[in-house]
C-alpha cells in the first residue's frame, strides 16, 4: 500500500495513516515532503510496532514500514 501525503500539514498525515493501517497491513509506504509529517508519521508507525525505514528522494521522503 502506498499513500501520498505531500502537501498535507500535521496532524492530517498521522490521522490518515491511522485510518490506512486500520486493517493491520504487513507493509505500508508513505510519501511526505515536509519534516514534521516525516517525523510524526514515522513515530506513529513505530508506536504501532512497525519497523520503519526512510529514504530521501530529491526533497521528499519515502517512509517504508513493515511488520
Amino acid at each position: 500500500m502506498e499513500i501520498d501525503y505531500r502537501g498535507l500539514s500535521c496532524p492530517e498525515p498521522v490521522i490518515r495513516t491511522k485510518k490506512a493501517i486500520k486493517d493491520n497491513p504487513q507493509t505500508v509506504e508513505v510519501l511526505v515532503d515536509q519534516r514534521a509529517p516525516l517525523e510524526n508519521v514515522s513515530r506513529y508507525l513505530r508506536a504501532m510496532k512497525y519497523d520503519v525505514s526512510v529514504q530521501e528522494e530529491s526533497g521528499q521522503w519515502r517512509i517504508s514500514a513493515t511488520k
Binding site: S9, C10, P11, V14, I15, A36, N40, V41, R43, A47
Partner: protein, 334 residues
Amino acid sequence: MVKTSGCAAKLPPGKLHSVIDNLPLMKDDRLLEGFESADDALVYQVSGDIVCVQTVDFFPPMVDDPFIFGQVAAANALSDIYAMGGEPSVAMNLMCFPSCLDLDIMDRILRGGISKVKEAGAVIAGGHTIEDPTPKYGLCVTAFMDRKDVWSNKGAMPGDSVVLTKALGVGIINTAAKGGEASESSIAAAVDSMTRLNRHARDIARKYKVHAATDVTGFSLSGHSQECAAASGVTIEMDTASLPVLEGALELARFGLIPEGRYTNEDWLFGKICFAEGIPLEIKDLVLDPQTSGGLLLFMPPDDAEAYVSEMDMSCCRIVGRVTDKADKDVFFR
C-alpha cells in the same frame, strides 16, 4: 482547518530575524526596551520614573469554541505585560474575520476577550477589524509602571532558581485535538491552562525578588529560556524530571501528534541548547512544544523561589532548573 494555530502560528525566529535585522534601527532616549532586546514588550519612558509597557499579540484559533478562543487570545496577549511585572491598564482588539462566517462567531470571540480583560482589571478602548479568510484575534495591551519595577528578560544570575508557573504540552494536545485524538480530560486541562491569566502568578511574585522574567509561548520552554540565557549571559540547567506536564501530552507525543512548530523550534535552537544522554524523545517534544498562553518563567534567588512556589500552591507551579555561569550552550536539559 487552519494550518497552524495559537502561538504555533508564530513566524520562526530565523525567518523573522532575516528581515528585521536588516531594518533601520530607530533610536530614542526614552525607548528603554525596543526591537533588539527580544523582550516581551516595549518599555517607553513617559515621565520621570513612569514607563509605558506595550505589547501586541494575535493568532488564528486553536479551539473550536469562539468564546474560549477569545479568552485564550486575550490571556495570551495580557501575559506579555505580566511577564514584564506590570498590570494591564488598557487594551485594543485586533480582529481578522472571514466574510462568509456568521457574525455571532465574531461576537463570541470579542466577548471572550472582554471577559479576560475585565478579569485583568483593564479596559478595552477600541480596535480594528479586517476581512480575512482565516479568523485571527488578539490584543494590543498597555500598562504603566515605575521603571524600577520592570522585569526584564536579561537579569538572570548564576545561582538563581528557575520557576515555571504552568504545565507544558498545550501545543501537542491542541494538535491531537484537531485530529480528534485528544481525550476530553486532556482538552479540558489544556483549555483551563490557556485561559488562566498569569495575573495571580505575577501578583504573588511581586512579593519576592525576581531577577528576570519572561513567559513561555510559541518558541517553547527551550526557546524562551534560551533568549533569557543569551540576554543574561548565563546558562540555564533544566531538570526535566521536575517539569509540570499536562495530562496525556507525553502519550500523544509518542504517537506523533506533534505540531510542526516543535521541529522549527528545534531547527533554530540548533547549537544553542543540548540534552543529556538518554533524555526520552517525548521529553524533547515537550520542551520544544510551542505553548499558547503558557506560564511565566521566573528567575529568582533559591529561597525566594521556594517560598513563591509554596505560596502559589499549584501542582503546575514548580522549580524546574537553575542558572549557572555561562557554558558553551545556553540551555542544558538533564
